[in-house]
Amino acid sequence: MIRHDILKELIPVISDHLVVCNIGLPSQELHMLDDQPSNFYMLGTMGLASSIGLGVAMAQKDKVIAIDGDGSVLTNLATLSTIANNPCGNFILLIIDNGSYGSTGDQATYAGMKTSLTAVAEACGCENVVECSAEDTVDTVKTALAGDEMTVIISKCQSGNVPVPVIEIDPVVIRQRFMDEIAKRPANQ
């Protein structure tokens, strides 16, 4: 399974939740599969999906899923220590770890070599870290959503992409509709 297969299977599970999605193909795939005001697409700024997601989780009560990639987490590795030391029960970080920089031509990342993001997350102090196969990702996310403990999921999948259109929505529209959606969530009333 590649990232697109995982996202496609995840849609029924995450569609109604707040999602902060990583730059490049992950956001473009999510946008193509299931565009929603509850999705925040990163159009730039590699590496900050987990930080933005944690910020949203800290500021309001509804559950937040940040969909990140191994290459992006590596570029902001210290995020895992911030996440560990500021645990939010409403935050799930899903790292889709395909061992490659998918949006730039599938160059290998160190996460596909000697570096284990699972071990890094645990060493940073994250208490609920789950590494799973691509096939088990949907069930793992379901379990995390059903609980009230912050969860870091590392989903190991194959490298590869599908053709997707770029996102043409204005960034301010993406931001404002996401904020409006957050404001009307029952958890925030």
Partner: protein
């Protein structure tokens, strides 16, 4: 050891509904950070690097809490891409309270190397900035914070050694 100026800065942040602050420390900012840690109204989350901190701020803003970041001017070099492609691109109001190292009174020569680029980078990014050189200028902070929310832009408040010295 905190000063009346440290307390005034945090009071103005509270009065302007700033409810989330991330920091990377500087010794000139130690007093402000100490006051913040004793302030229940503001959620203070230390970050490891300032671009990470701006990600937290963007998220907090979308979650309904007005953010601010406290950092050193060296961070302007670190955060150029994040300022352009996240904070400016998505129109996120972000007052940046910046310890302006490398100005007159500085003891560490290397700090001057980034000081001489600080305003040039802010000019290049079209980020409004305000240079506080004396403690009396802290009176402008309230207006700057309101201006930041109104225009939904990042703004930089540069507080140099003379400012902190006059406030001591």
């Amino acid at each position: 050891m905190t000063t009346a100026t440290d307390a005034k800065i945090v009071d103005d942040l509270i009065a302007n509904d700033i409810r989330f602050i991330t920091t990377v420390p500087c010794k000139q900012l130690a007093g402000v950070i100490e006051v913040l840690n004793e302030t229940d109204e503001i959620h203070h989350v230390p970050c490891n690097k300032e671009d990470e901190g701006m990600g937290l701020c963007a998220g907090a803003y979308m979650g309904g809490k007005r953010p601010s970041i406290i950092m050193q001017n060296t961070a302007i070099g670190v955060t150029v891409n994040t300022l352009a492609t996240l904070i400016q691109f998505y129109n996120i109001p972000l007052p940046m309270l910046i310890s302006y190292r490398g100005e007159v009174g500085e003891k560490v020569a290397c700090q001057v190397e980034m000081a001489i680029h600080t305003k040039a980078i802010l000019d290049q990014l079209h980020i409004p900035y305000y240079h506080f050189h004396h403690k009396d200028q802290v009176g402008e902070l309230d207006g700057i914070l309101k201006h930041t929310q109104m225009c939904k832009k990042p703004t930089a408040i540069l507080m140099d050694a003379s400012f902190w010295g006059s406030a001591a």
